[in-house]
Amino acid sequence: MRPRAAAIVGIGQSAFSKHLGVTEAEVAATAIGAALADAGLTPADVDGLCLYDIESTTIGDAAAVLGLDHLRFFSTHSHGGGSYCAVVLHATAALAAGHASVVLAFRARNRGRGSSYGKGSNEGGRPWEKIAPRISGFYQWQVPFGIVSPVQEMAIIARRHMLDHGTTEDHLGEVACAARSHAVRNPHAMQREPMTLADHHASRFIAEPLRLLDCCLESDGGCAIVLTTAERARDLRQRPAYVLDGVQCVGPAHHHPHDWFVFDRRRWMAAAAERLWGSAGVRPTDVDAAMLYDHFTPMVLIALEDWGFCAPGEGGPFTEHGALRGPGGRLPVNTHGGQLSEAFIHGFNNLNEAVRQVRGTSTCQVPDAELVFVAAASSDPYGAVLLCR
């Protein structure tokens, strides 16, 4: 697709907290309203919608509940954090195909521990606490044995990374501390207390080797973005964050532990990375800031390796000497605090922060940031997007 053919022209969000006390539809409406206001547009302008299938507000609700009654393109994605870049790419495709002229994408979720509002796993609260007494699907191959929640799955992956590459808990801790150092500057972040490595190592184990401070927050909140064509973007009020390029991929190596190590995921990741950098005509060293999917600290290290910021296995050492810390580090990562310290919105807040970096409005602004890299979860599916001035 043509680089810079589309741009993100509006970003919005709700407050982020452990428990907002409102429905996910209201959270969505708040974030969407803010994004449209940011863009200087109205619901009547929106004719495209790219959504997750786990949203409690469906396409069928969108017209009735969100006032989006002019939609003529819509698509959905599964897989939460693995797809938040793919959502952007579908929006840019719809624009390029002429199927829509203004596309909205959003994520609204009440995943605060106390925010459950129903028995369904996508009805707020912790999905794994709602696992039925009898299970089918992939859960049957791990839950009965005691591997239930994502932190436990990632712990198995993290342990192997430590065994194979010598990754240490200092490396994991640095990911968490760097994110927190950014959140300290961000008034919207849920966790703003400064964190040292000692603080990280003192936090309790959830599933070894992962501690509480290795895990993303549990939060209620929503984010929304508005995209349009480059031509239209020029007339709107904000500096456009152009979509330079992106890739979206799905394969059989989901993060479910029995698949992760069986299939040669590194080869596919390398192929996706090569496709992205080759097509975009830039290199990882050209990137000014990176928003990586930090549901758990080890996955940030793996993302750095997967996308070519460092060699396989070298994610840990990459974090040394403050490389991830903005605004002046070698590669500031998650300058809003990420899922670890701002809020866990399945990565959508990463998109909002990436746009801020391009606009120059981040609370941890990388000077003269022109190229921002955003990556979805390093499991299946996966993908990445490059935003630029």
Binding site: D53, A63, D69, F74, S75, T76, H77, A86, Q248, P252
Partner: protein, 318 residues
């Protein structure tokens, strides 16, 4: 690049199945790939209905241990079969993928589907004498269809798949490629969740306006349509659909002569959210249908009007 359906495949349709949705999907995809005469390693995109039982990584055999470069979904429901075609066509036309497989499989009827169908049928039968004639015509069509099982309850277990690629393939022309001439989606409120808003959208002619957009994009008129595969309960929703898409003669009894509507019996063939309607339309345009409409050049496939829906116009091989 001109998107075209270059392969189709289905499993047999059944009332009950021991197979998983993934197994049905895999078999349908296998058949479509064979029909397209391509290798599995040529597939680089996969699209499906969301929330479905057959996720991409349940189909590792399909992917042959590779990652695919394009994936996405349409809202799970009977409005979405044409949207699946649209999503695949978009990827091919933009060069995001070269060969996109679209699939849908079910192992049982959608909960409440039968109730909706029967309620809609009862409602319509009371209001409109023509509906009874239409219902009879669809039953006769199903009786002529070797794939339909015939009986009160249509089979709801089975899988269908199609292969979408660019028409232009120098040196190796496709066998009977069916072109995607135009497509539309429209976010009608779900009748089951927002009845008042749905009724308002009917009054405002929202679907009718979207249908006009579809014809404009394809540079066609309703009179050009030879075959119409409309997602409609037996009889009940066919009339509104004909009106929405501007089809058929006024004052006609039963189904119009032109276009031929649901020559396969529609949802009487199978209750698979309309994915089988896509397959029938392609067969008709290839001249390979069981109840072949002579000289079929243009086919319309339309999803359920009771929720966010879609429609697509397909053209016969040149």
């Amino acid at each position: 690049m001109t998107p075209a359906v270059v392969g189709i495949g289905t499993t047999p349709f059944a009332r009950r199945t021991r197979a998983s949705a993934s197994a049905l999907a895999a078999r349908a995809i296998e058949a479509a790939v064979r029909d397209a005469r391509i290798g599995f390693d040529e597939i680089d995109g996969l699209v499906r209905f969301d929330r479905g039982a057959a996720w991409e990584y349940d189909l590792p055999g399909v992917m042959r241990l590779r990652a695919l470069d394009y994936y996405g979904a349409v809202p799970d429901g009977p409005g979405s079969a044409p949207a699946l075609v649209r999503l695949a066509a978009m990827a091919v036309s933009l060069g995001l993928a070269r060969v996109v497989v679209g699939y849908h499989a079910r192992t049982e009827a959608r909960p409440g589907a039968a109730d909706v169908l029967h309620a809609a049928a009862l409602l319509a039968r009371r209001q409109e004498p023509r509906v009874a004639a239409i219902t009879q015509a669809l039953r006769r069509a199903a009786a002529r269809n070797p794939r339909a099982l015939n009986g009160a309850i249509p089979p709801a277990a089975g899988g269908c798949a199609f292969v979408m690629s660019a028409l232009e393939r120098p040196g190796r022309p496709w066998r009977k490629p069916v072109r995607v001439l135009g497509s539309m989606q429209v976010a009608i409120p779900s009748a089951s969740r927002h009845l008042v808003a749905w009724l308002a959208s009917r009054r405002e002619g929202v679907l009718r306006a979207a249908a006009r957009r579809l014809y404009r994009e394809a540079r066609l008129r309703p009179a050009d349509v030879d075959v119409a595969c409309l997602y409609a309960a037996p009889g009940a929703l066919v009339l509104p659909a004909l009106g929405d898409y501007g089809l058929g003669e006024r004052g006609a009894a039963g189904l119009p002569r032109r276009p031929r509507v649901n020559p396969h019996g529609g949802q009487l063939e199978a209750s698979l959210d309309g994915i089988n309607d896509v397959i029938e339309a392609v067969r008709q345009l290839r001249g390979e249908a069981a109840s072949q409409v002579r000289g079929a050049r243009i086919a319309l496939v339309a999803g359920s009007p009771l929720e966010p829906t879609s429609a697509v116009l397909l053209g016969a091989p040149a």
